[in-house]
């Protein structure tokens, strides 16, 4: 369903919204919203990382999803650091490191190693835990009232509570959006919200129902592909909780050098038939400049301007990181790359001929 339809529906929805009033009886005065706000705020964090230049903000939002203190947030340039700072609404500051990311959902899971009593219990149980009962996820429907918790515009600092907005689910639909000229990677189901959640720093915030049950994660700043309007949306938690659990379990953990052994006969970029653009920065992106004919790279149809994002599910942040990672791969082994070409991501496997 397209966004313009959503706007048409809005007229109906604001009236229908009265229905959900019955869910929260105390609509006057402080009432239940304040209680929800106070208890839910404790589960949210303000995140501070890189940025602050060229229109890139150095802050975003996140929330706890495990007793062990894991934080779910969106994957963005803010996280381009070994550790970022997470600040809870009671003023506690902690370091958070990126455990792993899911490039298809554009989410990231951070570890604080600080156990917390305040988290959204949304992760599926571990497969080996036979006794565990599956978590009950809350889903929302068109017309439901929702609350959005985020540190939009970085308004709150330190022990201040992040911002609270109320809204109504205008539509549940498929994301069809773009960022700049690029189509967004995630194209799955979303909640469209009538509250203005699409603001700097809001991405990674929590969307809950009026009782504080988690419904989804506020998405990154995007425009609708056709209407070109800024889109206020959240990705339903059911779309991301499985991936988050896999990241926590280490399925795509950023492997660190000390836990592995370098290969005896490491593979090199020359072996693969790849030449990168000149390495002039501390963190030059791993853009391919040239692909040698009759090489594993050409066989996999790699081309100039492809950006290498992952090598064997290890996130590559620079050319140096790529060269380092290749040291752990033997010349005899296959190399799986996730590359970004224009608007699309594709996974390719390079094999020795």
């Amino acid at each position: 369903m397209m966004l313009r339809n959503c706007f048409a529906m809005l007229f109906v929805l604001v009236v229908l919204a009265n229905d959900s009033l019955s869910a929260d009886k105390q609509t006057v005065g402080l009432g239940s919203v304040n209680q929800t706000a106070v208890t839910t705020e404790l589960k949210t964090v303000k995140l501070y990382g890189t940025g602050g230049v060229a229109g890139l903000d150095a802050y975003q939002s996140g929330f706890f999803i495990s007793e062990a203190g894991h934080i779910l947030t969106v994957w963005s340039t803010v996280l381009d650091l070994d550790t970022v700072t997470a600040v809870t609404s009671d003023g506690k500051r902690m370091e958070a490191r990126v455990v792993g990311i899911d490039p298809n959902l554009e989410i990231a899971v951070l570890a604080t190693d600080k156990p917390t009593a305040h988290y959204f219990d949304v992760l599926p149980p571990k497969p080996e835990d036979a006794k565990a009962v599956n978590v009950q996820l809350t889903t929302a429907h068109t017309g439901d009232r929702v609350l959005a918790f985020s540190n939009l515009f970085g308004i709150a600092t330190g022990s201040e509570m992040s911002s609270l907005q109320k809204g109504v689910i205008m539509a549940t639909t498929q994301l069809d959006a773009r960022r700049g000229t690029f189509v967004s990677v995630y194209q799955g189901p979303i909640y469209v919200i009538d509250a203005m959640t699409n603001n700097p720093g809001a991405a990674g915030g929590a969307l809950t129902d009026m009782q504080g049950n988690l419904l989804g994660i506020l998405g990154k700043e995007l425009r609708d592909a056709r209407a070109n309007t800024w889109l206020n949306y959240a990705i339903p938690i059911a779309q991301v909780n499985g991936s988050a659990a896999r990241i926590i379990e280490g399925k795509s953990i950023l492997k660190t050098a000390d836990s592995r052994k370098a290969a005896d006969r490491p593979i090199s970029l020359v072996d693969l038939g790849i030449a990168l653009i000149p390495d002039v920065l501390a963190k030059t992106p791993a853009y391919i400049d040239l692909v040698q004919p009759n090489s594993p790279a050409s066989a996999a149809k790699l081309a100039a301007d492809d950006l290498v994002l992952f090598v064997n599910s290890v996130r590559i942040t620079s050319q140096t990181a790529l060269r380092n990672e290749l040291k752990y791969i033997d010349q005899a082994d296959d190399v799986t790359l996730l590359i970004q070409r224009g608007t699309t991501l594709r996974e390719v496997t390079l094999r020795k001929p």
Binding site: F7, L10, F11, V14, V15, L16, N18, D19, L21, S22, K25, T27, V28, G29, L30, G31, V33, N34, Q35, T36, A37, V38, E41, G55, G91, G143, L147, L152, F153, I155, A156, T157, G158, S159, E160, M161, S162, S163, L164, Q165, K166, R179, G180, T181, D194, A195, M196, T197, N199, P200, E221, R223, A227, N228, T229, W230
Partner: protein, 642 residues
């Protein structure tokens, strides 16, 4: 996102927002029948479509909004330019708005209420730093009002609504009402330049758009919790993005007396900065040694615990508290050094000098008009003499510029209904540097003097005043003689003399009984000649006076303060807001030194005159002398032998 893109679509968004606003309005104004006919999704029983609680809650909301709308003001410039919102807070027409609204309109504006009538309004006082203006609507003494709430009780998640004139839509004078919740409290928003600092403000997701500025944010009891004035805008242009800020009602209460003074009011600084250390303590990181805080013992590295009786846990807490305090207030601060906690009082200086404030406010006049359309604002204040710039062919657009012609016409006939009453307005406007409208300063100053006169006229008594009594709790006799050329105090066997030919400030610097004589002479002279003759006297506003020796702000009454330039000093006389008794006299000599403070209480009647029965002398916060006065006698002065 490229820049070009972000600039491309503002119109779309304005349209969308207008649509959303219209929706909100429709929701609110829906009559009962309409609401009852709505079928809730999933309801099985068609006979009772809506939960009774929902209907009741909605009725309550409609009633609250109806009541609130009556006190909401739509503000327009004289020629229809500018525009914004406001709210009436007193029956005789005092109303609050934003400084950035009033400055765009000039000192005479037109205000519409939802009864369909338009009233003239004049500027009263201006707090440019806090973005608040007090205006007065004319023509009625029974205006509908909205009370100011205790905004410290506002909580995140609380339902609120804004009423006002977004996009200057209220052409029928019916305010637009937008519903939302409180998104955050105790927010600090940095000043734009040195003006428009929003400290301790309320953040809401109720739609606040250009034109809502100056309008009220209400709770569901139709009480004003704040004045809407600022939004976070970004890529969508100047339309609401779910983040609006309201100046808290409690900040406005603290500034109310200052605003009524008709002055350009300033915010406070402690002349010290704080920062948070690694362990989260808020420490003094810088302090001017000429400041009152320094004189009261505050030093670099002291940990601030409370300020103005509020907890300080973060640097933002401190800025939030400081940002809501007026210049010239004195507030308690408690701090810890080496494990010892102490509490003292600090006098707050101004963020700006008076000249800076005048320049900033003059520069803002007629600018920043919240205009949704392409109509250029007129920077000239109506009724103000406009220097002829001599450009041929450039005729003034509005008739208000042709002052002399207009004035003649106006004076010859009464204004028609709905027309501006320029004669009345002109009589209530007085220009003077440092003031938004000096008329209201004189009004208050004269009212206080009238109040003081009800305690007994001392303007015609003999010129020598002799006060006799004892030191409190002792047998030591005290005799004070006040003449026009000098004064003496006899304490037991000790005599201190003071000639008024000497610099008064020197007597204050000595921190002895001479300062008492200085203050008593100021008191005597005020009562003998009145505020107009003693020296340049203005009404400063209201400030807490620590009549008791406790330092708890909540227990200190706000008093009316008159301030006089007198000899080489500045004198402040403080009166309770409901009485003519002078309770405190402070004489400021050297700016980097403590003033002398003299407190009066135990007022008693003698010969149909109310006179103080006890006098306390104090420098800093330590009382140095407490005198029980037994009698005050008036006699003729002997000619002083040369």
């Amino acid at each position: 996102m490229s820049k070009a893109e972000s600039n491309r679509k503002p119109l779309n968004w304005i349209c969308t927002c207008l649509m959303l606003l219209a929706c909100n309005a429709a929701e609110i104004r829906a009559d009962d029948a309409k609401v009852a006919s709505v079928q809730p999704a999933g309801a099985k029983d068609t006979a009772s479509p809506v939960d009774a609680n929902v209907v009741a809650a909605e009725q309550q909301r409609i009633a609250a909004m109806r009541k609130a709308a009556e006190a909401t003001v739509a503000i327009f410039g004289l020629d229809g330019g500018g525009g914004g919102s406001g709210v009436l807070i007193t029956r005789d027409g005092y109303a609050l708005t934003n400084y950035h609204v009033s400055s765009a309109c000039g000192d005479h504006m037109r205000c519409g209420l939802n009864d369909g009538r338009v009233y003239d309004a004049v500027i009263v006082g201006v707090d440019a730093t806090g973005d608040v203006s007090l205006i007065k609507l004319l023509g009625r003494d029974d205006f509908p009002i909205a009370p100011l709430a205790d905004s410290d009780t506002v909580r995140v998640g609380q339902w609120v609504f804004a009423a006002g004139n977004p996009f200057v839509l209220a052409s029928n004078l019916q305010p637009t009402v937008t519903l939302g919740i409180v998104s955050g409290v105790n927010r600090y928003q940095y000043p734009a330049g040195t003006l428009l600092e929003y400290a301790d403000c309320i953040q809401t997701d109720a739609a606040i758009n250009p034109g809502n500025s100056g309008g009220p944010l209400f709770n569901f009891a139709s009480e004003v919790i704040g004045i809407n004035g600022r939004c976070s805008f970004e890529k969508r242009g100047r339309v609401n993005v779910g983040v609006g800020y309201a100046i808290s009602a409690n900040q406005i209460k603290q500034f109310m007396g200052m605003l009524r003074s008709g002055r350009l009011v300033d915010h406070a600084t402690m002349a010290a900065t704080v920062s948070t250390d690694d362990s989260g303590k808020v420490l003094i990181s810088n302090i001017l040694n000429s400041s009152d805080a320094y004189r009261r013992g505050l030093r670099y590295g002291d940990e601030v615990l409370t300020f103005a009786d509020r907890q300080v846990n973060t640097t933002n807490d401190f800025k939030n508290i400081l940002g809501t305090l007026p210049k010239d207030w004195r507030v308690p601060i408690s701090f810890r050094r080496a494990g010892t906690t102490q509490t003292t009082l600090v006098r707050l200086a101004g963020v700006h000098t008076e000249q800076q404030l005048i320049q900033l406010v003059t520069a803002e006049l007629g600018k920043n008009a919240p205009q949704p359309k392409g109509k250029p604002g007129r920077p000239d204040k109506p009724g103000e003499e406009k220097p002829a710039d001599g450009k041929p062919g450039e005729k003034p657009v509005a008739p208000t510029d042709e002052k002399s012609k207009d004035a003649k016409e106006e004076s010859s006939r009464a204004p028609l209904p709905g027309e501006p009453d320029k004669k009345l307005v002109k009589s209530m406007l007085a220009e003077r540097p440092g003031f938004a409208n000096y008329y209201f300063n004189e009004l208050n100053r004269d009212a206080i003097w009238t109040r003081a006169q009800t305690l007994g006229d001392l303007t015609k008594v003999d010129r020598r005043w002799v006060l006799t009594g004892k030191l409190a709790g002792e047998d030591t006799p005290v005799r004070i003689q006040l003449d026009s050329v000098g004064a003496t105090i006899l304490l037991g066997s000790r005599t201190v003399e003071l000639s008024f030919a000497e610099a008064m400030s020197d007597a204050i610097s000595k921190r002895r009984e001479g300062g008492l004589l200085v203050a008593l002479r100021a008191w005597q002279q005020l009562l003998q000649v009145g505020p107009k003759q003693i020296g340049e006297t203005i009404y400063l506003g209201t400030a807490p006076v620590y009549t008791a020796t406790t330092t708890v702000l909540a227990e200190q009454p706000l008093m009316d303060v008159l301030q006089s330039a007198w000899y080489d000093t500045m004198v402040r006389f403080s009166f309770p807001q409901d009485s003519g008794e002078i309770r405190c006299i402070e004489v400021f000599g050297d700016a980097s030194e403590d003033p002398v403070e003299v407190y009066f209480d135990n007022y008693r009647e003698k010969d149909k005159r109310m006179l103080p029965g006890r006098i306390r002398l104090q420098y800093g916060i330590e009382p140095t002398l407490l005198i029980d006065i037994e009698s005050i006698a008036f006699s003729a002065e002997e000619p002083k032998p040369k």
